[in-house]
Symmetry: C2
Subunit: 164 residues, 2 copies
DNA sequence: TTAAAACATCACAAATTTGTATTGATTAGC
DNA sequence: GCTAATCAATACAAATTTGTGATGTTTTAA
């Protein structure tokens, strides 16, 4: 269970974008690179993914830069992380769980009775509730506010799968 | 945020081990490979990791095989997944979060004021509470029992970090 | 109109993970 | 003792992810 590099750095960049958004100023890839200690090329790649996903808007030319597409209060952490999930192979939407196999067989041997899938469904449901409820603004507010926010998440309700 | 292949297949193998444990019989790598549709070599690798971590005990020779070191009621899912975390680079114990960088700098630019670390601390705390509370036995019991189990997890209490 | 600063896109090298192969050691049964 | 089945350990090839490079386009301002 790991956070990919793109997710970690992507979220950091998103936080920088959030700060500049609140000041209503554009921020360039090189500025973010400087602030985060990353290479300009790497930040550019992240911004490219953000733009394709509609997370940022870009302005070309000298004095150009990037701007978060919505206010930090309106972006959940999940929305940011999902930008990178699509480029990854085994991602958290449970797609591919039962099709990717190191294996001697072309189809999942648990097709009819899979004991693993419900586990991930439930665990990722908990995870999603947390990630959906936290906004970029919450992250900017600091640790104790974040902690409070997480405590307020409702974990008791039915999962999507169960409602089907 | 993704589950690695070793984690997914490792947990499946652990479930097979749990079933045989309840029958008090040894199970060989080739048997598990057959049951899970994996190659014998791959299962052997997983068993090797399990044994090094003390999750299974092995018996050599013809009629040898593997046996879960404790009963399925006494193994949490987290204990199983942690076996594979140690072989991975960025793992869920938060080690390395602030030392691995795609970067132009040798140290984390957020050393003094990191806005990302508290996020992962909190999120992984929630995750750990779930993974620690689910046993292999719970997984064998099926989806609805599992669902109930997850609902009973206490998410409100302080995190380890906060108690420090 | 030219130059500089910035984004856009794609290609590619390095690192990591994934899965297989190989060789060796151990045990049971004949 | 010999053989077959099994675990033990390590090496290695393929696939994937990670991060950089190179080339081109757009815009502003002198």
């Amino acid at each position: 269970m790991r956070i990919t590099s793109l997710e970690e750095y992507g979220l950091r960049c998103a936080l920088q974008l959030a700060k500049f958004k609140k000041k209503s100023t554009l921020v360039s890839a090189s500025q973010i690179a400087e602030l985060e200690g990353l290479s300009v090329e790497y930040v550019s790649k992240i911004m490219h993914l953000f733009r394709k996903a509609g997370v940022v808007e870009s302005t070309r030319g000298i004095q150009g830069g990037f701007s978060l597409a919505k206010m930090p209060t309106d972006f959940s952490v999940k929305e940011i992380l999902d930008v990178f999930a699509v480029t990854q192979k085994g991602n958290d939407d449970l797609q591919g769980f039962c099709t990717n196999h190191a294996g001697t067989q072309s189809e999942c041997v648990h097709k009819s009775q899979c004991s693993i899938r419900p586990v991930w469904v439930h665990i990722f449901d908990v995870f999603d509730r947390v990630l959906c409820s936290i906004t970029l603004e919450n992250l900017l507010e600091g640790s104790s506010a974040l902690s409070e926010k997480i405590r307020s998440v409702n974990f008791a309700e039915q999962t999507k799968e169960e409602r089907k």
